[in-house]
């Protein structure tokens, strides 16, 4: 298996990419391929209809037991904006997400660097500490964490929400950054050190500029994940520190208080926000490449 190792660079060059057909398979592939595409189409059609029914309802005046609603209106969006205090909720969401991105990058990148480059006693323990928050369901550590935060009277504050969201974000940054760091030639660092650079200078002048793509990727992915993180924020947020998704869930879970259409309007706003973020992310990062490189990390 190591005999194959010198090979990758050759395979990575996109030389034979010109006219390679997707499936290569011969005769038997055809009906089978149609089956797969048919299933994908069925899934997508149903999913599209599902999304559409929410979008249509958010514009509907009333809609009971008919194919399409009686009339259309934009009122529910204005309603959602006013009643849910969306301006404040969006502001909280933004502050929390940006703070989590900033802190997790600031702490995570140096940690990833050390873990990628160094071998030391107790490294496995540190790795385990970093992997566990990714592997455990958020509720599992969320409930004890909320209990502790309540004890220190930090629950319900913006700080508590940011702290809770750091727990999954920090290991995530380390996991995403490790392959990017491994790609950097150690000779470059040695050269910098030989020229008299200290660790801080190696970082700011050499490593960070080379790592910009990785940092960008990790940052955007953490941003998307934090906006979507429901459980932890739900457990520790107070009335003034709700993020959009928690406000949305609370509205949806107490039916009757709010009009269904207003909740739909809010859900559409949420989806538009996170779809925008993800599109931006896909613009900067090819997701399959990140994960393909991450693959080597958890394999010990």
């Amino acid at each position: 298996m190591t005999a194959l190792d010198p090979d990758p660079p050759a395979a990575a060059v996109p030389a034979p990419a010109k006219a390679r057909r997707p499936g290569i398979p011969g005769r038997w592939g055809r009906p089978y391929a149609w089956l797969v595409w048919g299933a994908v189409a069925f899934f997508l059609v149903n999913l599209g209809a599902l999304i559409l029914s929410v979008v249509v309802d958010s514009f509907a005046t009333t809609w009971f037991g008919t194919w399409l609603p009686d009339g259309y209106t934009l009122d529910w969006y204005a309603d959602a904006w006013r009643e849910f205090g969306l301006a404040q909720v969006l502001q909280v969401t933004l502050v929390v997400a940006l703070a989590v991105v900033g802190v997790s990058l600031l702490f995570g990148v140096p940690a990833a660097y050390t873990l990628a480059r160094r071998d030391f006693a107790g490294k496995r323990v540190v790795m385990l500490l970093l992997l566990l928050p990714v592997l455990l369901p958020p509720i599992t550590y969320g409930i004890p964490l909320a209990t502790v935060l309540y004890k220190f009277q930090l629950a319900g504050t913006l700080f508590g929400v940011i702290a809770a969201n750091l727990v999954p974000a920090l290991p995530f940054v380390v996991l995403v950054m490790t392959p990017f760091i491994e790609q950097i030639d150690t000779n470059i660092e040695s050269a910098a050190r030989m020229c008299g650079a200290r660790t801080r200078q190696v970082f700011t002048r050499v490593l960070v500029p080379l790592l910009v793509p990785g940092i960008l990727a990790a940052g955007i992915l953490v941003l998307v994940r934090t906006v979507a993180m429901f459980e932890l924020t739900f457990l520790v947020a107070g009335p003034d520190s709700q993020t959009l998704i928690v406000a949305l869930y609370s509205a949806a879970f107490t039916p009757g208080i709010r009009a269904a259409q207003a909740i739909d309007a809010m859900a559409v706003i949420y989806t538009a926000l996170s779809a925008t973020l993800l599109t931006v992310a896909l613009f900067f990062v090819n997701p399959t490449q990140i994960v393909a490189q991450v693959r080597e990390t958890p394999a010990d």
């Binding site: 090979d7 990758p8 660079p9 395979a11 990575a12 996109p14 990419a17 390679r20 997707p22 499936g23 290569i24 011969g26 797969v36 999913l47 599902l50 999304i51 029914s53 929410v54 600031l106 702490f107 140096p110 940690a111 050390t114 873990l115 160094r118 071998d119 030391f120 006693a121 540190v126 592997l135 455990l136 369901p137 509720i139 599992t140 550590y141 409930i143 004890p144 209990t147 502790v148 750091l166 727990v167 920090l170 660790t199 979507a228 459980e231 998704i245 949806a252 879970f253 859900a267 989806t271 779809a275 993800l278 090819n286 997701p287 399959t288 490449q289 393909a292 490189q293 693959r295 394999a299």
Partner: protein, 299 residues
């Protein structure tokens, strides 16, 4: 690796031999945050779970959990949702990713369309399921108009609604991972097999699947973790009082409705234990697979 800190040179030297020197300080902030926000609360939670609110022995909470079938049943209900959801998500991803592994026009667009449901968020999915699959929804209308069913199919406020929601939100993740593992397999291996006379079926069976298997195990673990913590959808489209009362709901109710943090911690700890048990089994199986280099990363 200049080690300049430390008290006595001898100690410093001995530590440096084991790889411990000043550059490890870079790890300190991250580790400190995780110790304070993850390790300490977890240990605190374990400690709390061993101090039952109503007295009794150290393990009284755990005994109470397993004796009360309303509580212990949540383990089975969670597994019944999470295992099929993870299996379906990984299983469906494999053939689709297999079709998408090469380069062709529209690949990126199709990938993006399949990944985009990640952004839907559980509430929109739940909302959409309630409308679309509801008795008056489009899905039942089509079925009724086509004459396939006589009365609306009940697909929400039960097990199926939650399963659908888990598939919609979980599939994109599983697909993205499987696709990247699939892209990581060196295409020359398959061509070599073809040169040696292997048919498409044999190539899938003896080349692609064995190389993909470790990645599938990892994907299954992550998909399972995602599905295991099902909470919002179980409340919104499920039957949270009975059929879809998963462990997360039981833990939440104990903590924030009964304010029994001790019992809540017990359930949270058990949740982690049961989940790690499944993960350990998968890892055990994965350990028996080939995990060497799969060649290039030609995406």
């Amino acid at each position: 690796m200049a080690a300049t800190a430390g008290t006595s040179p001898a100690l410093r030297h001995r530590l440096a031999e084991r790889g411990i020197d000043r550059s490890l300080l870079l790890l300190v902030p991250a580790v400190a945050v995780l110790v304070a926000l993850f390790l300490y609360p977890m240990l605190y939670g374990v400690g709390l779970s061993l101090q039952p609110a109503e007295g009794g022995g150290v393990l009284a909470n755990y005994a109470a959990f397993f004796q009360d079938s309303y509580q212990s049943g949540t383990v089975w209900r969670t597994m019944r949702l999470a295992l099929p959801a993870a299996l379906i998500n990984v299983g469906a991803s494999v053939p689709i990713a297999y079709r998408l592994r090469g380069r062709f026009r529209g690949r990126r667009l199709l990938t993006a369309i399949l990944v985009l449901p990640v952004t839907l968020g559980t509430v929109l999915v739940a909302d959409g399921l309630l409308r679309y699959l509801g008795p008056k929804g489009w899905f039942n209308r089509v079925l009724l108009d086509l004459g396939l069913v006589d009365e609306p199919v009940r697909l929400i406020y039960n097990y199926w609604g939650v399963l659908f929601s888990l598939i919609i939100t979980g599939f994109p993740f599983a697909f993205l991972l499987v696709l990247s593992y699939m892209s990581g397999i060196d295409p020359t291996l398959e061509r070599a097999a073809a040169t040696l006379g292997a048919g498409p079926r044999q190539r899938v069976r003896y080349i692609t699947l064995p190389l993909l298997a470790p990645g599938l195990a990892t994907t299954f673990i992550l998909a399972f973790v995602l599905a295991f913590s099902v909470f919002p959808s179980a409340n919104l489209v499920g039957e949270p009082a009975d059929e879809t009362r998963v462990m997360a709901i039981a833990a939440y109710q104990a903590a924030f409705e009964k304010y029994d943090y001790s019992m809540a911690s017990t359930i949270a700890v058990l949740m982690g234990v049961f989940e790690l048990l499944v993960i350990a089994l998968v890892l055990l199986w994965r350990g028996r697979l080939y995990t060497g280099s799969t060649g290039g990363k030609g995406a």
